[in-house]
């Protein structure tokens, strides 16, 4: 690690803080607190468990520029047309972190959508109870950085007792013609009591330049609510991302979250779920299909705080060329969380000698009447399966494709939206063609 670049970057960050050190800012106290913490952490402690295997220094050492001034918010019509996913939905467009109403298409009055500053005035109680409350920024450099410096952001609130059939698609578009731009985005979502909705995060790095995205999403499920949440990461060539998604579940709530990583440079996916009530259900499905020099780091934390909740985690990965991956799944079952039912599984197929994956399940169980199980496998294409298909006339590359598709089918078939399935299948098929 180059000390000069490091301190240069710290100076830049400090300068940024000076810019926003405005006592009138709605979140001044929070920002100051997190910035002090950020300074204390000094710089990224590379010996930190969570970052040990992820080449963050690669990103940090670059001479990056902050994207706080929100340039490049205009996109020509053709470009934006090609980005929309062709389904009936509520389309929310963010460009470089700023909500652009002009390009968005929202047609539901039970949804309240605005930037975070504007939202604060009308939702002070919600902000007080939930905003940045469960994000553990005191432990993590990037969480502290984002909390200190975020601007604009997006706030979405679904009122109580509403079932919305049309999904929300949040397009996180990065429009940076230069490389080494540091973008940081904040999202805060409230799903009202008894309400149901599907939300799709669609990340898009238009110019495909190497940039850095630091994103925190906080999603609060109030009582009896139901959320399907998809994170689609295929249009993110050359992007380095440290993403942190914090879910908070209230009584009887149900969450299905899907995270797909098919592209990107260094991608860190942190999913944190707090089951802070009884009778919660949560399913996490993760799929990563990576090649060349891509790196994906999947961290999950499922925290069973109260009794009678169920959690299920299924992550599958295919790694080719020199790609590397990490899976670290933590499950906490607290003292009071009796009758918890938790399951975790991570399965990986490695296609080349140079790729590797580190998988680590971690369980910390304090209650005494629980059912927890976990499993992890790392393997190659099963030679017997391959020979069986070839002995029937199917050539080697087609046979490997069939086996890989069968492997990832378990995750893909759980997707309820056809267009999303198609988008993913197209990218996956392209990647499979490149194997040979």
């Amino acid at each position: 690690m180059n000390k000069k670049t490091l301190y240069k970057n710290i100076k830049k960050i400090n300068k940024q803080f000076d810019i926003i050190l405005n006592k009138k800012d709605n979140f001044f106290k929070l920002r100051k607190k997190s910035f002090n913490i950020f300074n204390k952490i000094k710089f990224l402690n590379l010996k930190n468990e969570n970052y040990k295997y992820t080449p963050i220094s690669k990103i940090i050492n670059n001479d990056f520029k902050f994207n706080r001034i929100n340039k490049k918010l205009k996109l020509n019509d053709n470009k934006i047309k090609n980005i929309y996913i062709n389904i009936h939905a509520n389309h929310i467009i963010l460009i470089n972190g700023k909500f652009i109403k002009k390009y968005s298409k929202i047609n539901n009055n039970k949804l309240y959508i605005s930037n975070i500053d504007k939202a604060y005035k009308l939702n002070k109680k919600l902000f007080k109870n939930y905003f940045s409350k469960y994000v553990n920024y005191s432990s993590d450099f990037f969480l502290a950085l984002n909390t200190s410096l975020f601007k604009d952001g997006i706030f979405i609130k679904l009122k109580d007792n509403v079932i919305i059939k049309k999904p929300i698609i949040i397009y996180y578009i990065l429009n940076n013609k230069n490389k080494d731009i540091l973008n940081y985005i904040r999202t805060f979502i409230i799903i009202g009591e008894n309400s149901q909705i599907t939300i799709i995060d669609y990340l898009y790095n238009i110019e495909k330049k190497e940039n850095f995205l630091n994103i925190i999403s906080e999603i609060i499920l109030l009582k009896n609510s139901n959320l399907n949440y998809y994170k689609i990461q295929n249009k993110i060539n050359n992007l380095n991302k440290i993403g942190y998604t914090q879910f908070y579940q209230s009584k009887n709530s149900q969450l299905n979250t899907y995270i797909f990583t098919l592209n990107g440079n260094v991608i860190k996916n942190n999913i944190n779920i707090k089951l802070d009530a009884e009778n919660c259900k949560t399913n996490i499905y993760g799929l990563y299909v990576i090649n060349s020099n891509q790196h994906v780091d999947n961290q999950t934390v499922v925290d069973h705080i109260k009794p009678n909740s169920i959690s299920r985690e299924y992550y599958k990965g295919i790694l080719n060329d020199q790609s590397t991956g990490i899976f670290n799944g933590k499950i906490y079952v607290r003292n009071d969380a009796q009758n918890t039912n938790a399951f975790q599984s991570n399965k990986n197929i490695i296609l080349s000698e140079k790729s590797n994956i580190k998988t680590k399940p971690q369980l910390e169980i304090l209650a005494n009447d629980v059912k927890c199980s976990h499993g992890a496998t790392i393997g190659q294409i099963d030679k017997n399966q391959l020979f069986y298909l070839r002995s029937r006339g199917i050539d080697r590359s087609k046979a490997i494709s069939m086996i890989i598709k069968a492997f990832i089918k378990e995750i893909i078939e759980k997707i309820n939206i056809k267009s999303i399935k198609n988008i993913l299948n197209i990218t996956i098929n392209d990647k499979l063609k490149k194997i040979f």
């Binding site: 020979f387 069986y388 298909l389 002995s391 029937r392 199917i394 086996i403």
Partner: protein
């Protein structure tokens, strides 16, 4: 006929000896030209890791024939089957395998399937997530592409498949499932026979198809296989026991022991094995 000729001296004897050999040579050449040699294995030696399993196999099969290969455990039966199908863990160190005069050793497993070789596995592997219908359609069309003939479209494929389902009496529901996933032994064997019916191979190798089957399932399997048998295809039945040979009658029976074929005969040889075991041949 030469037995009745009295030889006056050894020169005459020699003359007739040479004549006899030439006569039989010519007869053999004519014989070869008339019959279609499907498979010719010559002096085949095969290693796995550093162990020699096949120590010089010689075998000739013509179109339309049924050959049984019997032998005790470890004799090399299944190795022979796997080598014919092209399994890559086996190293061929000597000898040749010709299939309709083509050098089989040069061909990949998928090419061999294209040429018309089909191995019915003893323990068919499970491939969850691959549907049988999709799998067999892909296989049929890939083989058709290899043979440079038109592939089957969806409609033709379905009617072709329905024909075969009727022919071998397989439960249609089985076909909607994932390949061999959760199948019983009998269901797996039935699936192998279904694939056989669909792919219409020239050389069918049954690798211990009778293992794990009860008498009724065995009869069923034999019935279906007999339906698929015609004068243009051949079958190699690899087995321990004589049982299956009661229902599928072999033209030739070969005994393989310690990597070599040590005795050949007709179906009576199989009956003798059943009564006496393998020890008397060793």
């Amino acid at each position: 006929m030469y037995k009745f000729i009295k030889f006056n001296n050894y020169i005459e004897k020699l003359f007739f000896f040479i004549l006899k050999n030439e006569y039989f040579k010519l007869k053999k050449i004519k014989y070869n030209k008339i019959k279609n040699f499907m498979l010719k294995i010559k002096n085949l030696e095969v290693f796995i890791d550093k162990k020699k399993i096949l120590k010089g196999i010689n075998l000739e099969i013509l179109s339309g024939e049924i050959h049984a290969i019997m032998g005790p455990n470890g004799s090399g039966k299944s190795t022979l089957a796997s080598v014919l199908a092209g399994k890559e863990i086996y190293k061929i160190t000597n000898g040749s395998i010709n299939f309709f005069k083509k050098d089989l050793i040069e061909l990949s497993p998928e090419e061999r399937a294209g040429e018309g070789i089909f191995l019915a596995f003893q323990y068919p592997v499970e491939i969850p997530g691959v549907s049988i219908v999709n799998f067999i359609k892909t296989a049929i069309n890939q083989i058709r592409i290899y043979k440079e003939i038109d592939t089957l479209d969806a409609v033709s494929f379905i009617s072709y498949m329905n024909e075969k389902i009727k022919l071998i009496n397989i439960d249609k529901n089985l076909l909607n499932r994932s390949l061999n996933e959760g199948f019983s032994g009998g269901e797996k064997k039935k699936n192998e026979i279904f694939q056989m019916a669909m792919l219409d191979p020239k050389l069918i190798i049954l690798d211990e198809t009778d293992s794990g089957l009860d008498v009724d399932s065995l009869k069923e399997a034999a019935k279906s296989i007999n339906k698929l048998k015609n004068k243009n295809n051949s079958i190699i039945i690899i087995t321990h026991y004589q049982r299956l040979l009661n229902y599928i009658t072999p033209d030739f029976v070969h005994i393989i022991y310690n990597g070599k074929i040590i005795k050949s005969g007709d179906k009576n040889l199989a009956i003798k094995i059943e009564k006496k075991g393998y020890n008397w041949i060793k």
